[in-house]
């Protein structure tokens, strides 16, 4: 038996917001298996839900013919999550800061901020249609 370099789980769903519960179930279970502590589980779980929600609602505009692709790379000390949609993309640098005073009482616009707050790395690519996030198991810097 060759040693497996990567332990990859893939999930692919149509763009229906109800399927966030399926995503949630997968992520929760992976994080539990990886024995992240409870707080890290909640944080990573939330970040993945935010990314998945954005891919469904903003990326794919809830078009059920467009799909969202999730990859979970399970490592010894970290989980990498990649979320890819089939939308037009966007420029994440132009998203307003939800902590600015004029945005504090906005009813939306906190998803990417929470992803950046709760994950150790968040990188957009492919014109904003793909986001890669990393959560480390023992993060001494936080």
């Amino acid at each position: 038996m060759a040693t497996s370099q990567e332990h990859i789980i893939r999930l692919e769903i149509p763009s229906e917001i109800q399927l966030i519960y399926v995503l949630d179930a997968v992520v929760s279970e992976i994080l539990r298996e990886m024995e992240f502590d409870d707080e890290a589980v909640e944080q990573a779980n939330l970040a993945v839900i935010e990314a998945g929600t954005n891919a469904i609602l903003h990326g794919n505009s809830s078009d059920p013919n467009k799909r969202v692709y999730f990859q979970f790379l399970v490592g010894e000390d970290k989980l990498t999550v990649i979320v890819k949609d089939e939308g037009e993309g966007f420029n994440p640098d132009l998203v307003p800061n939800p902590l600015d005073l004029e945005n504090l009482l906005s009813t939306s616009g906190r998803g990417i901020f929470l992803m950046r707050t709760f994950m150790d790395e968040v990188n957009y690519s492919e014109n904003g249609t793909k986001v890669q996030m990393v959560k480390y198991k023992f993060n001494e810097n936080k």
Binding site: I17, Q18, I20, Y21, D24, E39, E42, N45, L46, I49, E50, T53, P98, L99, L104, L105, S106, T107, S108, R110, G111, F113, L114, T117
Partner: protein, 114 residues
């Protein structure tokens, strides 16, 4: 997510149970909006009991913010009861802790409305 509503001394308590993620926020928003719409100006007194909400996403938080704004507009009052670690962290991170009134004790929260 499930929401049930009860009244105590003129305060309407929304007992929410379960994670508020995905489309739960739409459901929660409509329950809260309907309640606010049914009340006259100055008569809205809402307590959102989050004791059994282990987690809430940004759309859930958006509903709480929207509720806050609607209630303000109607010259009512809204407060949050029993934030858990995760929901508290979310609200702290979003810098909303100083904006929302929060309570850890239902009697106290209800009394504050009298």
């Amino acid at each position: 997510m499930d929401v049930s509503i009860r009244e105590r001394d003129g305060v309407t308590i929304f007992d929410i149970q379960g994670r508020i993620i995905g489309s739960d926020s739409l459901e929660l928003k409509s329950v809260i909006d309907d309640h606010i719409a049914s009340k006259a100006e100055g008569e809205v007194k809402i307590l959102l009991n989050l004791a059994r909400v282990p987690m809430m996403d940004s759309s859930g938080l958006g509903v709480v913010v929207a509720a806050y704004t609607s209630v303000q507009r109607k010259k009512g009052r809204i407060a949050l009861l029993n934030l858990g670690r995760s929901t508290r962290q979310l609200i702290v991170m979003a810098k909303l802790m100083t904006i929302f009134e929060t309570y850890d004790n239902e009697d106290e929260a209800v009394a504050s409305f009298q």
